[in-house]
């Protein structure tokens, strides 16, 4: 699909004097499930907000050769950068199929918008299949389960053929089985796309992350594979106060309490 990588360099976001993100750099490539973790207020969601144009940031966020910062939201989406939200935001009054159809309309000509929908796009069928929603095309999105709504959001990004998927806490509130299904889905998607996940759930992170970036108070604390990050004394110190004595399990508990 794409060889381009998402490269974020020295990203800074300020809210009237308050530095929410203070010079964060990381990159994400196709073929890996990239995790962004950290306690509340670490600036994870703000990073995503800045990359997607929702809040203003300085520094650089490039997809391949294209600079994303400074563009309006919908233009960034059209460059292939899609995101989901912490609280699933789908169009409750429309059916699953209509939701996907609106998402797919991104690449349609404006004249075809004036026509009624006939049949179902191939890409929509594939996305329904992939996300396990194949049985629900006519269901109003409002009555889907919480997990299904998240999958619908991911499916909407798939029909848009997004090169980059930025997922904000996709498994929050999901059952264990749903988490596993979501993780496997992300691994499949990541084969050909860039997948960046913001998460609190350490168990989920350990099972599915390829590489992890730990944010703390708006800065990158540590970066690497799951094992590397967990072994990083700095990470342990920040989360537990006493270096060395930390076990990763304890760290996970603390982090989940922060949630």
């Amino acid at each position: 699909m794409t060889d381009a990588s998402l490269v974020v360099t020295d990203l800074r976001v300020e809210f009237s004097g308050f530095v929410a993100v203070g010079g964060v750099s990381f990159d994400a490539h196709p073929g890996e499930v990239r995790f962004l973790i950290g306690p509340n207020g670490a600036g994870k969601t703000t990073c995503i907000d800045a990359i997607t144009g929702l809040t203003k940031g300085t520094g650089s966020a490039r997809l391949g050769d294209t600079e994303l910062l400074g563009r309006p939201v919908h233009k960034i989406v059209r460059l292939g950068v899609g995101r989901t939200f912490q609280t699933a935001s789908v169009f409750d009054e429309l059916t699953v199929l209509q939701n996907l159809d609106i998402a797919a309309g991104l690449h349609r000509s404006s004249v075809s918008l004036l026509r009624a929908r006939r049949g179902v796009d191939r890409s929509i069928e594939q996305a329904l299949e992939e996300t396990g929603l194949a049985g629900e095309p006519a269901t109003p999105a409002g009555i889907l389960s919480h997990g299904q709504k998240q999958w619908l959001e991911i499916a909407m990004l798939l029909v848009q053929d997004a090169k980059v998927l930025l997922l904000d806490e996709p498994v929050a509130g999901m059952s264990h089985d749903e988490r596993t299904a979501t993780g496997e889905l992300l691994q499949r998607i990541a084969a050909r796309r860039i997948v960046l996940v913001v998460e609190h759930d350490m168990d989920f992170m350990r099972r599915f992350a390829t590489r992890v970036t730990v944010l703390h108070q708006g800065r990158v604390l540590s970066q690497g594979t799951v094992a590397e990050v967990q072994a990083d004394p700095q990470v342990q110190e920040v989360y537990l106060g006493t270096a060395g004595a930390a076990t990763t399990a304890a760290m996970a508990v603390v982090l989940e309490r922060e949630d």
Binding site: T52, H74, R78, R83, D101, I102, G105, L106, R115, R117
Partner: protein, 363 residues
Amino acid sequence: MTKKPWISLGGIGVFAVLLLAVAPLVLTDHWLNNLGKYCCWAIAAVGIGLAWGRGGMLVMGQGVFFALGAYAMAMHLTLETAGDRVPGFMVLYDPLAPLPMFWEPFRSAGFTLAAIVGLPVVVAGALGYALFKRRVKGAYFAILTQALAVALAVLISSTIRETGGDTGLSDFKYFFGFVLNDPANRLMVYLIAAALLIVCLLAVWQFYRSRFGELLVATRDAEERVRFLGYDPANVKLVAFVVSALMASIGGAMFVPIVGIITPAEIGAAASILMIAGVALGGRASLFGPALGAIAVGWGQSSLGSTWPDGWPYILGLLFIVVILFLPNGLSSLPARFAAARRKPDVPPTPVIAAAELEEVRS
């Protein structure tokens, strides 16, 4: 709507037969002329339904676009009546007054028709672009549009020599070469207005069942979310706003030959609010609601408004309060509500049912 579009299309067919064939046979000339007037309001109302009901933009100043069409038409008809001379009201104060520059092109029938279509598109396009790109919405948008209607009405009132001021433009003798006094020609004018209403209904019918219609509803309900799907909501809203302005202009243009006069009172704040009243009553988001509601309110205005002038404003005020408070989707949502109460599947509102409901309310 999207489930059974063909039933709605059949409904439009029934409505067309009623307006174009039945009404001319059963109604007196006086009432047919009145119905023509209601049709003009209904055309504007269909546009309001699109912008407000489906798009969430409360357009409280449709009088502006109604005025663009109406005054373009009225200027042409005035010039046609005056022939080579300068219109009478202009020489009232100064016998040698020349025709103002901006009147000159309206001598041409082609230019006039182009202006009726083009002016609202340009004005609504520019205004909508400016407002929507700056994300002006909600109450701000509503009041700004109403402020424009007030401003335009004041402007016209104060330019007596150029626009006729408060007395407006009237006494048209010809309509594109046809003598307006001739009953056959009056019937023709009515039929044009009714046909245009049907065309507008067909247009929104197609809008509502199209992908654009779904996108418009999505934008109404979650503008930010639509942005994150790669659309600029401003453009989506702009299209709906421009189309609704165009419909208001067409309604205004037909209003002039049917009613025979256009004044600032027909386009100002009160008139713009009256246009909203019908849409609210009939059902803002439904296909037939706005048109039927506008016809009902128009009927109330000319019957109750003249036989019981002291009571009509109370009825109008209560209509706003009761309908919006208890029945936000208007009378057209009643069948579905009844159906839901009886635990039956949704019955799409057909014009016959809705019309019967309107009758009940009147009596």
